[in-house]
Symmetry: D3
Subunit: 313 residues, 6 copies
Amino acid sequence: MKQLNDYAEGERVITFCLVKQRELATASNQKEYFNLELADQSGTLPAKVWDVTEELKEIIQVKAIVKIDATVQMYRGKKQLVIQRIRLASASDEVGHESLVQASPVPQDELWASLQGYVGKLKSQTLRQVIEHLLGEPDLQDRLRSFPAGVKMHHNYYSGLMEHIVSLLTLADRILPLYPQVDRDSLYATCILHDIGKLYELSDAIAPEYSTPGQLIGHLVMGVELVSDACRALGISPQDSEILHLKHCILSHHGDVDLGYGSAVSGKTPTAVLFHYLDQIDSKMNALGQTLTQMEEEWDYAPVLRRRVWRGY
Amino acid sequence: MKQLNDYAEGERVITFCLVKQRELATASNQKEYFNLELADQSGTLPAKVWDVTEELKEIIQVKAIVKIDATVQMYRGKKQLVIQRIRLASASDEVGHESLVQASPVPQDELWASLQGYVGKLKSQTLRQVIEHLLGEPDLQDRLRSFPAGVKMHHNYYSGLMEHIVSLLTLADRILPLYPQVDRDSLYATCILHDIGKLYELSDAIAPEYSTPGQLIGHLVMGVELVSDACRALGISPQDSEILHLKHCILSHHGDVDLGYGSAVSGKTPTAVLFHYLDQIDSKMNALGQTLTQMEEEWDYAPVLRRRVWRGY
Amino acid sequence: MKQLNDYAEGERVITFCLVKQRELATASNQKEYFNLELADQSGTLPAKVWDVTEELKEIIQVKAIVKIDATVQMYRGKKQLVIQRIRLASASDEVGHESLVQASPVPQDELWASLQGYVGKLKSQTLRQVIEHLLGEPDLQDRLRSFPAGVKMHHNYYSGLMEHIVSLLTLADRILPLYPQVDRDSLYATCILHDIGKLYELSDAIAPEYSTPGQLIGHLVMGVELVSDACRALGISPQDSEILHLKHCILSHHGDVDLGYGSAVSGKTPTAVLFHYLDQIDSKMNALGQTLTQMEEEWDYAPVLRRRVWRGY
Amino acid sequence: MKQLNDYAEGERVITFCLVKQRELATASNQKEYFNLELADQSGTLPAKVWDVTEELKEIIQVKAIVKIDATVQMYRGKKQLVIQRIRLASASDEVGHESLVQASPVPQDELWASLQGYVGKLKSQTLRQVIEHLLGEPDLQDRLRSFPAGVKMHHNYYSGLMEHIVSLLTLADRILPLYPQVDRDSLYATCILHDIGKLYELSDAIAPEYSTPGQLIGHLVMGVELVSDACRALGISPQDSEILHLKHCILSHHGDVDLGYGSAVSGKTPTAVLFHYLDQIDSKMNALGQTLTQMEEEWDYAPVLRRRVWRGY
Amino acid sequence: MKQLNDYAEGERVITFCLVKQRELATASNQKEYFNLELADQSGTLPAKVWDVTEELKEIIQVKAIVKIDATVQMYRGKKQLVIQRIRLASASDEVGHESLVQASPVPQDELWASLQGYVGKLKSQTLRQVIEHLLGEPDLQDRLRSFPAGVKMHHNYYSGLMEHIVSLLTLADRILPLYPQVDRDSLYATCILHDIGKLYELSDAIAPEYSTPGQLIGHLVMGVELVSDACRALGISPQDSEILHLKHCILSHHGDVDLGYGSAVSGKTPTAVLFHYLDQIDSKMNALGQTLTQMEEEWDYAPVLRRRVWRGY
Amino acid sequence: MKQLNDYAEGERVITFCLVKQRELATASNQKEYFNLELADQSGTLPAKVWDVTEELKEIIQVKAIVKIDATVQMYRGKKQLVIQRIRLASASDEVGHESLVQASPVPQDELWASLQGYVGKLKSQTLRQVIEHLLGEPDLQDRLRSFPAGVKMHHNYYSGLMEHIVSLLTLADRILPLYPQVDRDSLYATCILHDIGKLYELSDAIAPEYSTPGQLIGHLVMGVELVSDACRALGISPQDSEILHLKHCILSHHGDVDLGYGSAVSGKTPTAVLFHYLDQIDSKMNALGQTLTQMEEEWDYAPVLRRRVWRGY
């Protein structure tokens, strides 16, 4: 099916999409209009609704699913939709949120199966129990299956966090034979749990915002608290060396404290030091991959590096 | 009673003291000797034992209480003890560690009573319960009554942490009427619990070293975990706003994250922002107070500021 | 009386106000219009005048007092005034600048009396003479009674600097008993004089801009020069220890030199070190207080911290 | 054979070793003595020669191979050799430098074969030609087979650079399937050539010092010049995209320019960005591996991180 | 002849100019219009074309020379052109790019002669040969005679780089007698060649953009490669001390590496250290000179310093 | 006459010299000895006195002039004096401090005459009056003729500050014709007065230490206060533009405020910006010149750059 970003300048678009942002503005002729950001699986497009009724003001809200009849125009070099008609989707339209958001290219169930495979490989009873306990908790599992790894930057789409985790596990798996000074099980466990706090730092999978606990505590410490909760439920001592090490890896995964990127401690084991670099690699490669895919010129700006990057030969 | 630092150059010293550091060295004539650091309530002095027997090598260990017969000499402008005789204290000598370490100028019981007074003032049931639960735990209470606030720098002596807490509470108490945007109970609770993790980050009160959990997790997150433990025991929801705020204040008390001093989150409420400055004030004033007390010249080096300070007029 | 910010969307506003900013723009239909920023005691609002005559271009200037007949509209989620009629206030309107600017919540005379009270408490003849000499100088006194503490950020309103000074004195007064290593009179004097250079760094109290001397010399050194002038007039030696210390506290109150915030020397006494933190506390608490008061959501952006802050529970 | 570091306190040592450092000092009795640093494959030990003749002063020089008769003593907690007799090794002793320096645990020829294997895998004619040309040059090949990757920190031993290269290639090989946005041949070529400039930045493989060109130009630019030389010899255009990209990866491998670690440009392709992290991983893991192997306590200082690290459970 | 920036508000402008930037925008009435940036020797002006035909969309491109019939209007306090008629210049108009770009105030040929004069003063055969070889290369000479020293900031106009070089040579000439520790010929050579890489880092002299090699390699290393090429052509050893020193000065001219401004090595000779400051002086003085010339108020913003500057008395 | 640093290892030295530092130490045989630092015009040498009497302890003090009978020995690769006999110089020895300290290579009177010559060139009545007033003040003149420019680093010898000033004036004189945007008289005046505060920041010319006012106020603000004093004495308004500008140049000469090197304001005129670089050039060239003169190897450590520098070819 044709998606939002597939339409060219001048084409008419009749489709369902999701309202990601909504602003009510006033034109120089004193009339109100909407600046919207609409989304489907192909990404987002800005949109304008010039005739705004009181009814529209009420029903067009963030996360609403709408059906539009619009035309694609160019504005400052970028496509935007000028909407002639817009209405809320009804139950009979049978359009769900999942069908309108960008999602991981790997199917959700495949990611989940890969993740389970790695959990099964853990030799450490302690670490496997903790992970199985956490991943078995229904609300956490639901979130883990659907959440992005972040609001912007990298793996910022449906099931993005799970894709990031599986990608890290694959990466770890391939690197481990080279560095026997790294603890295999700790590295696996850190790949799986390092961002687990994000499941509560963010509000939801569709239009994620930072939650109050997320802003007050941060996902590193939230992740450590989830690990502690699991240990308690399982009767594992909080002084257990493997657990201490796992927490250390989670708390240090943003790099050295004095860099100011939010680690609570600096990495003090080969495993912790290695994981920080793996996380950097996987997030930067994902973000650069997205930028390169969308580049139309040989050089373009990559937000993740805050500089222009080269598509190459 | 005359203390180690009361003796002048040339005087003979016969007293009990504590071995804080011990190094076995070899002189240019190939004979072994001891470089010791000895301590009593007046502070520490370097000491030399020129005749080292095999027996001495065994019994003179860090934290040992010894009786010495020595002479004070000057070496590179500083006093040192040259020891003629040294033996281990026996049970019959009735000399305890507490009598040989530098301690807070305020008596331990008085500090404890002041602290209890402030706990009693808390109007928030939640916060008072958490604090009473933690302070009522015997091991934690023992540690809290005796631990220093740190290995070096500030309140670095017996009961130093409790003195720091009471000093912060007094400070908070006096400032609160000026800033109604600050939450009184949260500020009290942060004063009491901000460094509570240090009780397990450090090994003991007499010759504190960093513990393995301390180095892997750090006292900020350890403190938050103690709060969570208390909540669980008390049936308080971890989503409780006051608890979230308390944790936020603990996790942000080292200042903005991008300064790289180890906060896990940057302060996002007036209470958190204020507490960071109060903690800076109380620790710097204590450290400068110690430096100024020991200054013999108009200007001298203050380790806490890494610069020379002025004693003033 | 109803103030600018009291009016709701759609209401008609007939009132006097002050022109704080003025820009002549051209609409897409090639007609000129005014973008104004209008103020009264309730704060400021953006305003548009669509019909601009040659006469209006001449009379509508920054600092002009005008009478408007306008309607409140919403533009990008914020209120703005669309002005139908506007004229200059005449003498017979009897509207002064003071009645149209935001001012300290504490009355000017009360602040002045508090300040005088603290001056009276100074035991040091030297410091009291210097302060009385400076505050007795009519032009300086006029400025001190009316100036804000800054253009943006904190205490940025009529009599704001005096409010900041009195707030700092109260704060100092309450903290001093805890830290005997701090010199009471020096701390009082620094509270009073630390920003005294701002009275000439800024142009005036109503619409303050940076003066040429202010930008070339800065308020720290300007303050020190005012102290030196006073000493000369009073026959006090510039080598006087109390004067040197006072200048040191003024020159170091932006924190350590290597932080790059503009201190000319780093603090080298407990008094100087403490004052920097008191100044940080009072300015941050004032700015956060203003942000919190205006917040409509649980979380909002606080310019002083350059991050979102939490209103709390 | 028993090595220098295998001897315990008090044991007599008769062995060949290499003079790494030499200082002629004067004791407090005015007699001269030697402070030496002696080395064999087990590492280095400090040594003292108390009876220094004129002849010894002449023959004991840095890089000399000597035979010693000595005793192991403890000095400030560390082992040192007190030498009774010392003489220069003669040709008949048949002791070469290679047998007395610490070397890569992987045999030199095995490393060389692995490296050749990866060169053979290159599909890009351009890149393979350049690498084969450089590695075929006899002086460069000699150096590459023997040089350390650095004077201190990581892979700082005989054939260390080649071990680092092969380790990076293996790492790259394993990671590449995960990130199709990375150019396989460019990554291989960068692994092989990124530090090629070090072969002339340093003086030799046994006791490496920085050369004059090394200090004036640095190994990044020296490496790029070697690539340019090869291109010229092979008739490859310096504007060739693959060559530009290879140079870019070499010049950016110390990370972003604004970090100040000496990159001449910041990485602008996925390959360049990835390689920087791979280089960090391999060098840090090697350095930490060395530290962990030598640790005798649970915690010890790791120079590469400038902090204490944990040996783990 | 009257230039673009000579016209006042309201005046009619009929002239030739160059299109520097071009954007096709859509007005709130849905009609397309052009935002152009037009230039002649007096600088640039923004311009609007309200009636955009399909033909205009095709012919109005960046670097096009056009003839306009327009009126000067004020928009947000700045002049802009509202264009009634616009057409492409034809061959018969005899208007070249050179006549429409801002150029160095010193005539190109005069700059070239000065530069040649300094080359003639070089006593070092090696350095003179290298420079003469490079400057004798036709493409490089063409570029050198016309290129700006940069896209923004300083000497950012036709022949700007040559003006910068001659200015630096004059500066060096005057300073050299004071510092005999500086090598005269190396300093001259560095003045001439330090930015020579910019001739290929940028695309062209009229509307310069960064080239792909420029962004991947950077002008410092590109300059060093040009020097190496010249040495090879001339049979000069790359190990020649004067050449090493010249390359060192080029590679270090952005200041110390740890400042993060892109030097590949930090300056390690008096000549290299001095040149960095000379380059700073000449570029800052040129940029400030341009700002001061255009200032209409006593204080205005200077982009090169990112702060407001004072025109003075 | 032969100077301290002219003697070779093993030679006997009988000469007068100055005690720069003095430490009473205790040898491992428990006997006291002196570690001295002795100086004459050739620089300093460490010295040891093994037989220390009570009388010697009293008379050998810092700044004492002594006559020694000693032998040159090598200690850790550096020359030291072992003193057999030492006595205080008497009046009849006719040895003054000036004859024993390192001094500027340019005679004091010649520097003074050059300085006067530049003062005479000032066209600005205001600036010339201020400078003549200050330089005419006897105590300041005495200090200016003899003080070093600093304790370490650059021009750190008798009359060093005056040499630095004259060198800067010569430099300014040669550069001014190139940059008409710089104000000649302001630049001259800044060269002369920028470090004038150092005359009171330091204690004296022979063995300079930081004074209390120097450490509390700093030489930038002290210099500005001297200018203000002169203006007052001369009836020049402190609002005079030339005076404001001069103060601005003094207060900003350590570079941009956010670099944290102690400027009170950032430079905001071409003159201020230029002077900072001239000061950097002259101080770095002087320090590097001293390092290069003493270098015995091709590469050696230069304290001013905190890196090794190259002597060159």
